[in-house]
């Protein structure tokens, strides 16, 4: 069990009213914005469980949109995120899915479309107290929190990938805290997730992209 720091007790500093339904929603959407490698033109949010039932009263919709706009949990602009999204031409929509019940109570799926036409879908859950995790990317189950500097590499499941990633990191003196590979089936698309205590240099991303089996590299810098 990871230990609890002072500022998980006295914190987060946040726009109200709910740490799970407001601050957690901001945090999930902000991770999506950081992971997506182009400016976001369109965001579609699908809400499940308690998010679906109570999102309006907790400002979950404004919070999610605020995260896509790049706001942190304590940014007072969250309250006006509809207006701010309209002003910068960001298209958005919210949909409630109450049919899928086998989900964590506070779950959201976010589909984003970029200005260059790229798309990504990410599912996140809000665990309470503002803590969140990402549990699915483009249909593949993953598991990370974004509390560490996180590198997400989409690649084909191919021998030597993990060694290539680990070597690229060690050449740049990046210490790996956790590393996991997630895949659906052998030889198909997989995601490697690397979490580090320190900053991950941007040029590492270019190096990783050089590998012919690497399809995309995303970085969440803490």
């Amino acid at each position: 069990m990871p230990s609890i720091s002072i500022f998980e007790v006295i914190g987060p500093n946040m726009v109200g009213p709910s740490s799970s339904h407001t601050a957690g929603a901001v945090a999930i959407a902000l991770l999506v914005k950081k992971m997506f490698n182009e400016p976001i033109q369109k965001a579609e949010f699908i809400l499940y469980g308690s998010f679906a039932k109570t999102y309006k009263g907790h400002g979950t919709d404004r919070a999610l949109l605020g995260g896509i706009l790049g706001f942190e949990t304590y940014d007072l602009r969250i309250k006006n995120s509809f207006q701010l999204a309209d002003e910068c031409g960001l298209e958005y929509s919210f949909r409630v899915d109450e049919k899928e019940t086998e989900v964590h109570p506070n779950t959201v799926e976010i589909h984003v479309t970029g200005e260059q036409g790229g798309t990504m879908s990410v599912r996140g859950v809000s665990l309470g107290g503002g803590k969140v995790k990402i549990i699915r990317i483009n249909g593949i189950d993953v598991d990370f929190t974004g509390e560490y500097s996180t590198l997400v590499i989409r690649h084909l499941d191919y021998p030597g990938m993990v060694a290539y990633i680990a070597t690229s990191l060690s050449e740049r003196n990046v210490n790996i805290a956790f590393m996991r590979l997630f895949r659906e089936q052998k030889g198909a698309t997989a995601y490697s997730v690397v979490e580090s205590d320190e900053e991950i240099p941007q040029e590492l991303l270019d190096k990783l992209r050089e590998h012919p089996k690497v399809e995309d590299v995303m970085l969440i810098q803490v």
């Binding site: 002072i6 007790v9 006295i10 109200g16 009213p17 009263g57 309470g128 107290g129 503002g130």
Partner: protein, 292 residues
């Protein structure tokens, strides 16, 4: 330097001849590699936000999202100013500030979850009132916040602070225990007195249900925060007077979790029972969702 129970915490205080706040700061450095100066400046920033949220609705009243609360803090402040308060200045201020923070929270303003957003009024409400009434420095209050975080950490680790899991006793109860320990340390109490204050704060609120009207963090959350702050004040006063608790803190935390498990589903943040299921609340809920 780490601890996972109240008894271990008290042992560390005794061995190192220091207060709970000091042990908690040292734990942050040893367990998370945090820079001690940065830890203090982050706590100063948290207290700055807390203070702002105590004052804001007194000058600029705002409507909450659901419209169930708004303007309560100013009413209590006005009564104190008129000299008619039956609570005295200290308690009247604690009430005012706790109400105010929940008004800010419910209108999507900036607050510090302590330990949750729904219980965010307890700690700032009591500590700001103490600071003003006893002309204390911010530094003394910030020490108290470290003590509060030690108590909150133990409750999060060994039980829960989620209303959905264990009812309001886990949210406002935890916040009240944190505030009681903080107040006891700030006013010169020993580490044992701080833990006694926290222990009695939890005991007094055992069984408190979570039944938010319309599922919103508004009513009865706001007045429950006042309950948490005033409970913390009386528990700190008892502990500082030497009234001891024969059930140790760790056992009150365990029993809070067990009581939480026996609170029915309807009374754990589902809005299916308690205040939320009263006729008046159901009517209000219909009004809110019709206009949204």
């Amino acid at each position: 330097m780490d601890f996972i129970s109240g008894s271990e915490l008290l042992k560390l205080c005794e061995e190192n001849h220091c207060r709970i706040s000091e042990v908690m700061r040292q734990r942050e450095a040893s367990e998370f590699g945090a820079d001690p100066e940065e830890t203090i400046s982050r706590m100063k920033e948290a207290y700055r936000i807390m203070k702002e949220s105590c004052h804001k609705p007194l000058d600029e009243p705002v409507a909450s999202i659901g419209g169930l609360i708004g303007g309560e803090a100013a009413k209590v402040r006005n009564r104190r100013r008129s000299g008619k308060s039956i609570c005295g200045s200290m308690l009247s201020k604690a009430i005012t500030y706790s109400l105010a923070v929940l008004e800010v929270n419910a209108s999507m303003g900036l607050i510090v979850a302590a330990p949750t957003a729904g219980s965010s009024g307890v700690l700032p409400g009591l500590l700001l009132a103490l600071e003003e009434e006893f002309s204390l420095d911010d530094e003394q209050i910030i020490d108290g916040l470290f003590t509060a975080s030690a108590v909150g950490y133990l409750i999060m680790r060994n039980a829960t602070v989620a209303g959905a899991q264990a009812g309001c006793q886990a949210e406002v109860g935890a916040a009240s225990a944190m505030a009681a320990a903080a107040a006891a340390e700030i006013m010169g109490g020993t580490p044992k007195q701080c833990m006694d204050a926290a222990s009695s704060a939890i005991v007094n609120l055992l069984g408190l249900v979570c039944d938010p009207v319309a599922g919103l963090v508004e009513y009865p959350c706001q007045s429950r925060n006042v309950l948490g702050a005033s409970n913390a004040l009386v528990c700190a006063e008892m502990a500082l007077s030497g009234v001891e608790q024969f059930i140790p803190f760790d056992q009150t935390v365990d029993t809070m979790m067990m009581v939480g498990r026996s609170i029915p589903f309807e009374l754990r943040e589902t809005s299916l029972g308690g205040c939320a299921a009263t006729e008046a609340a159901c009517r209000k809920t219909c009004e809110i969702f019709k206009t949204k």
